[in-house]
């Protein structure tokens, strides 16, 4: 200000003495107050209500039965997701085939297994023995290769894996298909013109680019699936929820055990979200190199209102 060419008249107000008064937001303050009071009231009632029995929650957190249930839930999620990705990718490639004999069956598959509710499919597969008493592999000229009782094969765990895999594969097929479709035709042509075989060009050129669009919804699917697996408690698979039910059926400590289950689901989902964030980062690396980073820190994304506030 000292070297400014502008010379203020002697009687003018000193500009450095001016004070900016921020605009008040009375409604915002009222809303924040209400939220704080409500949260405090809820927390108070939760932690003082004896019925929640927090010591019992702590006692069961690392209970072997609960941990075994958690392991089953995670195993089930991983197995179903792997099978669903494989079947879904095959179905997606079939849907994109120029041959209708391949694309139509794939579409029907997706329509059927994505359309029917997961719970209904679970119970249906569990009760497969009602319609098919035995499962037999028979080849003409060779005869019966093997034959088993459906009830022996279709254990609760098998039924759970089969039903959830097919259901999830329907969703994965659509995700993979839209990802593959998003890669422009010119990419395949460029690969072919360099002498790359169709399979190689899909693997090296199309799929890695499609991945960026496939990974985020697949992460969401995996997280959803983890929660959906709790449905298998209906057909007596010893997952996290079923293990808790098994305990509180005896001890009647219903609420503490359901809180244990909730906490474990939340922990697992949080870990999975963290993994998904790193996968997304990996597959958008060409974006970051150019400084046009799309994916910011997960914490910063969650707290992005802070950034905006700082700018304003």
């Amino acid at each position: 200000m000292a070297d400014s060419a502008y010379k203020a008249p002697a009687n003018a107000t000193d500009t450095t003495a001016l004070v900016v008064v921020p605009l008040r937001h009375p409604f915002r303050i009222a809303a924040i107050t209400m939220v704080v009071i409500s949260v405090a009231a809820i927390l108070y009632s939760v932690f003082t209500n004896k019925e929640f029995q927090w010591p019992i929650v702590g006692h069961y957190m690392l209970n072997p039965i609960i941990l075994r249930g958690l392991a089953t839930t995670i195993t089930l999620t991983v197995a179903v997701m792997i099978i669903a990705v494989i079947i879904g990718t095959i179905a997606a490639l079939m849907m994109l085939s120029p041959s209708r004999l391949l694309s139509v069956p794939a579409r029907v598959f997706v329509w059927l297994f994505r359309g029917a509710p997961a719970l209904v499919q679970l119970i249906l597969w569990y009760n497969l023995s009602i319609v098919f008493k035995t499962i037999t592999l028979w080849l003409p000229g060779v005869g019966t290769i093997f034959s088993v009782q459906t009830n022996d094969v279709m254990t609760p765990m098998t039924a759970a894996i089969v039903a959830l895999s097919l259901h999830e594969a329907g969703y994965m097929a659509e995700i993979v298909r839209s990802g593959l479709n998003s890669v422009v035709r010119g990419q395949t042509e460029a690969a072919l013109s360099l002498g790359m075989r169709p399979a190689l060009s899909i693997r090296r050129i199309v799929l890695p680019q499609a991945m960026r669009l496939i990974i985020p919804p697949t992460g969401n699917e995996a997280i959803n699936l983890l929660k959906t697996t709790s449905l298998v408690s209906i057909i007596a698979v010893g997952d996290l929820l079923y293990s808790a039910q098994a305990i509180y059926a005896r001890t009647f400590e219903t609420l503490p055990l359901l809180i244990v289950v909730t906490i474990w689901y939340l922990i697992t989902v949080s870990v999975m979200s963290f993994g998904q964030y790193h996968l997304e980062r990996y597959f958008s690396k060409d974006d970051r190199k150019t400084g046009r980073g799309r994916s910011r820190g997960i914490l910063r994304r969650i707290f992005s209102f802070r950034q905006r506030a700082a700018v304003a």
Partner: protein, 267 residues
């Protein structure tokens, strides 16, 4: 030059013809895009194809490396069919792997560059030599650097395509095609997607290639480039070659009315 027997003589093509097309026909459903196109490009020559959009010139170019299948005629590259094996009087369709091996000898540069966005410039250049030809990565890398120096982009080897200008991307695309040591290079309107001030740098690289003796077939709207570099100029309209000849003579005094009208519009 090759161990394959050349079919050039059998189909009446000169011994040195790198690209030979006779009576090429191509239809999409009932719509005939190419109605008998002939072309003869001797080794080391540059042929420029001009014509209004929809004249079939890009389709014809894509037939040369079998990105499009032809419905009639004979198309030989370096004396052999691209998508077929000739045995007696029968053309046997080749399996994809064999077509790809033939295609690897025919480089192509696209209007939209089509660089692989998930790979660095270096990755783009060594992908096909390593995966298709089985070259050692170190050797492929070394040769790629030489090619990048040739197109003036050695310092960009670590960059992703997205961070390059259109002109730079197209020069990388040319280097990528050259990395496969092609016998012939096809250009599909290589400067049409570029900002006007970036056209020059790509044309300079192409001129340099032509002077080094590369056989080139160029679909273009750059009449100046055609006049300066091409050995023959072909004007196509509505799926046929309307006029062909030496570029200077044809541009100075076109014989056909349609050629005259087209040149008047683009010059």
């Amino acid at each position: 030059m090759t161990s394959r027997t050349s079919h050039n003589a059998r189909f009446g093509a000169p011994e040195n013809a790198m690209v030979f097309a006779a009576g090429i026909r191509k239809s999409y459903g009932h719509f005939e895009v190419l109605k008998g196109v002939d072309l003869e490009v001797p080794e080391g020559n540059v042929a420029c194809i001009i014509g209004p959009s929809g004249s079939g010139k890009s389709t014809f170019l894509r037939c040369i490396n079998h990105l499009e299948e032809i419905n009639g005629g004979v198309l030989l590259v370096d004396g052999d069919f691209v998508g077929y094996r000739l045995n007696g009087n029968k053309l046997y369709e080749l399996p994809p792997a064999a077509i790809c091996a033939r295609r690897a000898e025919i480089g192509m540069v696209f209007q939209q560059f089509n660089l692989f966005p998930h790979m660095t410039v270096m990755g783009n250049l060594i992908e096909a030599p390593v995966r298709v030809r089985g070259e050692r990565p170190a050797a492929a890398r070394e040769r790629a650097m030489t090619l990048l120096e040739r197109v003036g982009l050695a310092q960009k080897h670590d960059a992703y395509p997205r961070s390059l200008s259109g002109g730079q991307q197209q020069r990388v695309a040319i280097a990528r095609a050259l990395a496969m040591k092609p016998k012939v290079l096809l250009f599909d309107e290589p400067t049409s997607a570029l900002d006007p001030e970036l056209v020059g740098e790509v044309l300079t690289v192409m001129k340099d290639l032509a002077q080094s003796g590369m056989t080139m077939v160029v679909v273009t709207h750059e009449i100046g480039f055609a006049r300066e570099v091409a050995d023959q100029l072909i004007f196509m309209d509505e799926g046929v070659v309307v006029e062909r000849g030496s570029p200077r003579e044809m541009i100075a005094s076109p014989q056909s009315r349609r050629t005259k009208e087209f040149l008047a519009r683009v010059l």
